[in-house]
Symmetry: C2
DNA sequence: GAGTGGTCTAGACCACGCC
DNA sequence: GCGTGGTCTAGACCACTCG
C-alpha cells in the first residue's frame, strides 16, 4: 500500500464506485483510515479534501465525511485568450476591427457593471478568425472612469483583450453563458443568417469593486465548450 | 502576520494585483517566502498551490513559480440535479414524462458513446417544470448493455437522472455546452417557437470505460449559467 | 463535552528539469 | 549536479457542531 495521497484517493474512490461505501454512507474518520492505510493523517486528509473539492464526498466537522447522495456535477472550463485558443487548435489567428467609438453605453451594459446613466465608455466591435474563417465576434465596452487611456487606445491591430490583460492584472469576474439569436450586426461578420442560435459568453470585470469592462463574445455557429473528467 | 494559509494567499495575491510582482515575474521560492512570512513552508505551499489551481500563478520544479503572463480564466459551473436546482431557487418542482421507448439509437447518440450500430437503448423524453412553467427538456438515452434493467424502469413519476444516480455511482463524464435552435419535438414541450435559440448541455457518461448514458438537456429560452469569482 | 475535520509546524526525502 | 516544488510524517492545537 503505497503512501502517496493519489493512491489513497484512488483506493477510497474505488470503494465508493464499487459500492462498498454506498451514497449517503458515512466514511470512517481520518484517523481510522490513516491507520488502515498505514499513512499519516495528513495524507488521508489530502486525499479526502481532493474528493470533497470534486463533489464526490461531503465533509463536516464533528459529523464526519459521507458519500454525497446526489453528486454535484461540476464542469470547469478554461477560458483562455481567443488568440491562444485558436492557435492551440493548430489554426492561424487573424483579427479584424469592425467598429470603434466612444460614447454612452446602453442600459443593459450599464446594468451589468452598475454604471450611472450617460457614463462614457469605449466601445469596440471586432472579429477573431481561425484560418480565415470567423470564429468569434467580440462586443467590448470599457469604462473610461477607471481607464481613461482606453479612449485613445488603438485596437486596429490587436484586440482589446490583450490590451486589458496588460493593464488590469487580476480582478473579480462574473461570467455568464447563454444562447442567443444572432443579431443583425453580429450575423454579418460571423457569416451566418440573422437569428442563428449562437453560444454567447458574457463577462463583467471589476477591479477593486470598480467596473472595468463588459464583453459579449459571440461564437460562430456550431461552437461548443467541452470538458472531461 | 497571521499564520493561516488564507492570509498568506491573500498577501501574495495583493502583491500581484498591486503590481509588486508583475505578470511574468518569478516569485521568491517557498523557503524564502516562509521565512519572510514567519510560517512553515508547508503553509506557503498550501497558499501557492491554491493560487496555481486558480490559474493565477504557474509552478514548475526547479524553475520556480511565476505570475501567469496571460491569466487562464476559468469558469467553474455546478451542474446539480435539476430538481435541486429548481428547488434551490425557491420554485416548486414538477416532472412530466413525454415519451418512453426502447430501440436502436440514432448515429449521433451512438457516436458520442462509441456504441455499435443497432445497439438497443432506452430512450426517454421528459420535462422538468419550475412553478408550473417549462424549465428544461431532457432527451435521455441509456445503454442496455450495461444496464439492462433500464428497459423496464418506470420513469413516469421521477426522471431518469435520479434513477441513474442511485445505480451508477461515479463515473467519467464528458460535458458540452452549446447553442441550438429548438427542434420541433422540443419547442412544443418548452412552449417556445421552433428555432428559438436554446442553451443545451450534453453529457456523455461512462463507467469503467463502458458507455452508460447520453443526455441532452434543453433549457428554456433565456436561461443562463452564471459564475462569479 | 467530546469527537471530527481544519490547519500549522518542523523536519525530511524525493522527483523533476535546468544548467 | 543541484535547486525547486511535491509530498510524507508525527505531533499538536483549534474550531465547529452534534448529542
Amino acid at each position: 500500500m503505497a503512501g502517496n495521497w493519489r493512491t489513497i484517493r484512488a483506493e477510497i474512490l474505488a470503494r465508493i464506485t464499487s459500492g462498498v461505501w454506498a451514497p449517503g454512507t458515512a466514511l470512517p474518520g481520518e484517523v481510522a483510515l490513516a491507520l488502515g492505510f498505514g499513512v499519516a493523517r495528513a495524507t488521508v486528509n489530502r486525499a479526502m479534501r481532493d474528493l470533497a473539492e470534486e463533489g464526490i464526498i461531503e465533509r463536516r466537522r464533528r459529523a464526519g465525511s459521507r458519500v454525497r447522495p446526489a453528486p454535484v456535477r461540476q464542469a470547469r472550463f478554461d477560458i483562455p485568450l481567443v488568440r491562444r485558443d485558436i492557435e492551440d487548435r493548430g489554426a492561424a489567428y487573424a483579427y479584424r476591427l469592425l467598429l470603434s467609438a466612444v460614447g454612452p453605453a446602453p442600459s443593459e451594459v450599464r446594468d451589468r457593471l452598475g454604471l450611472p446613466e450617460g457614463a462614457a465608455m469605449r466601445h469596440v466591435l471586432c472579429l477573431h478568425l481561425a484560418d480565415g474563417r470567423p470564429w468569434q465576434a467580440e462586443d467590448r465596452w470599457i469604462s473610461l472612469s477607471l481607464l481613461p487611456e482606453a479612449a485613445a487606445a488603438d485596437f486596429s491591430a490587436a484586440g482589446p483583450n490583450e490590451w486589458l490583460v496588460a493593464r488590469v492584472p487580476y480582478s473579480g469576474v462574473e461570467i455568464s453563458i447563454l444562447a442567443a439569436p444572432a443579431e443583425a450586426h453580429i450575423a454579418g461578420p460571423l457569416a451566418c443568417a440573422p437569428g442563428t442560435a449562437l453560444l454567447v459568453v458574457e463577462r463583467a470585470t471589476r477591479w477593486d469593486g470598480q467596473p472595468v469592462t463588459f464583453v459579449r463574445l459571440w461564437h460562430a455557429p456550431g461552437h461548443r465548450m467541452t470538458t472531461r473528467y
